[in-house]
């Protein structure tokens, strides 16, 4: 099987934090929820995948090949946690810059999402709310026929309606079974509605990488506690790790 994304023993050391031997794979047709508390290493991992920060060791492969080739970005859409856009520009001006960088840019897809998210090309980025900025970032990420969508905390601070709409779009995106989403968040309720797979990181280490339906059994087996919700499960695992019951 061709994995859309593979990380193997990826490490990055900072003064007060270390990403330790992070390994996981993303199969086609999946929404993978990348969960963990603040400072657990989600953003660092995503920024390494995006090549925004350099890893110390390990490999990152896209579509079975060692990344380094910028052309892979043609098939990857990114939605990052903060707005990286030029705030004084209009949505149309930013789109003109971004769309020219992609060979597979689809104007139809772009128009579809602009309409769906009720965005106007004449608006300036600085006039958009946080939710609208995320919708615009998602529009750009979905308009060049990407096979893999990588999102770093896109729904934090957004209202339930926008979050619901986002999850609907993601489900639609992976529907044909060839595309996937890696979605980092600490709002686990969003993932319970849409994710097929959960990747749990804590203290810079991957604690588990499991299919959503296996998590209740995993929790009962490892912690001996009944599964209530993904958030409760995440907190239980952290509590047990603090007590040194899980390494």
């Amino acid at each position: 099987m061709e994995y859309l994304l593979e990380l193997e023993n990826v490490s990055k050391k900072y003064k007060r934090f270390q990403l330790q031997q992070v390994s996981f794979r993303i199969k086609p047709g999946n929404i993978t929820g990348f969960v963990g508390i603040n400072g657990s290493g989600k953003s660092t991992t995503i920024k390494i995948i995006a090549d925004l920060i350099r890893k110390d060791s390990g490999t990152v492969k896209f579509f079975g090949t060692d990344r380094r080739k910028q052309c892979f970005n043609e098939q990857i859409g990114y939605v990052m946690d903060s707005s990286y856009f030029y705030e004084k520009q209009t949505l149309g001006a930013v789109k003109n810059i971004i769309s020219s960088t992609y060979q597979n840019w689809s104007e139809n897809e772009y128009r579809h999402y602009m309409e769906l998210f009720e965005l106007e090309e004449k608006q300036k980025i600085k006039e958009l709310s946080k939710g609208m900025k995320m919708k615009y970032a998602l529009t750009l990420a979905l308009s060049h026929n990407a096979r893999l969508l990588i999102m770093d905390e896109p729904t934090s601070g957004l209202d339930p309606l926008v979050r619901k709409q986002t999850m609907e779009v993601l489900k639609e995106f992976i529907a044909d079974g060839t595309r996937s989403v890696l979605f980092s968040t600490h709002i686990t309720s969003d993932l319970e509605k849409a994710a097929n797979n959960i990747l749990f990181i804590h203290g810079g280490k991957i604690i588990f990488d499991e299919a959503m339906e296996n998590i209740p059994a995993l929790q009962e087996k490892m912690l001996g506690k009944k599964y209530i919700s993904l958030e409760d499960s995440m907190l239980n695992f952290i509590e047990h790790m603090k007590q040194g019951e899980i390494l």
Binding site: I53, R54, Q70, Y84, Y86, I97, S100, Q103
Partner: protein, 217 residues
């Protein structure tokens, strides 16, 4: 090439309002200098002084504005998430600066047509100013990529403020003919200056690519 055009278009879009000021400066500075420095007006070398100052201010205006925008909005980081590589981004910086130099040359041309007292631009002045600019920019660009605009703004502002005073001081103590003598001597080493500037810009580009490649965005 397509990516380079995209990046240049991006810089021009972001710097649109500022570029108008750059164009006006490139025309206005030579005119101003030709009227204000009467002692240099008819001397050989006045074209060097005018072009040197106008190109320096054009670089200062462009680098400040673009640096500020990139520092604030991290647009470059976003662009590296598209098929544009870090190498493309570095190359576009150098090409944009070349464009600014060409604007200052064109600006001088326009002011020459409008100002009878202005000397025509000599090839020696173009090469000398080009080399002086490269000497400055070949250090500035990799340092800005490494340290960010915020840490470099004092350096570029200091150079922009000091350079007119420095030119004035040289003229005052060395006599107006110093620029004439300088241009005559520079005339004999133009091929060396050109070669030196191309080696310097090549080395600077190489260092910039390495610096930017290693940088966490």
């Amino acid at each position: 090439m397509r990516k380079l055009i995209v990046l240049l278009r991006k810089d021009i879009t972001l710097d649109k309002a500022n570029l108008i000021i750059v164009i006006l400066l490139s025309i206005g500075i030579p005119v101003y200098i030709s009227y204000s420095l009467q002692s240099l007006r008819l001397q050989k070398g006045a074209d060097f002084v005018s072009l040197f100052l106008s190109s320096f201010f054009c670089f200062f205006m462009s680098l400040s504005k673009l640096g500020l925008i990139e520092d604030k909005y991290k647009g470059t980081a976003y662009l590296t998430l598209t098929p544009i590589s870090r190498k493309d981004i570095v190359l576009s910086k150098y090409v944009f600066l070349l464009l600014v130099f060409l604007i200052s040359l064109a600006g001088y041309g326009v002011s020459y047509l409008a100002t009878p007292s202005l000397q025509p631009l000599s090839f020696a002045a173009v090469v000398t100013v080009w080399t002086a600019n490269i000497l400055f920019l070949s250090f500035y660009v990799p340092l800005e990529l490494k340290l960010g605009y915020e840490n470099m703004k004092y350096y570029i502002t200091a150079v922009a403020v000091i350079s007119p005073f420095l030119i004035g001081l040289i003229g005052k103590y060395g006599g107006a003919s110093i620029f004439q003598r300088f241009m005559e001597e520079a005339g004999s080493i133009l091929p060396i200056m050109m070669m030196f500037s191309f080696i310097l810009i090549g080395a600077s580009y190489f260092v910039s690519v390495r610096v930017f490649y290693k940088k966490d965005l």
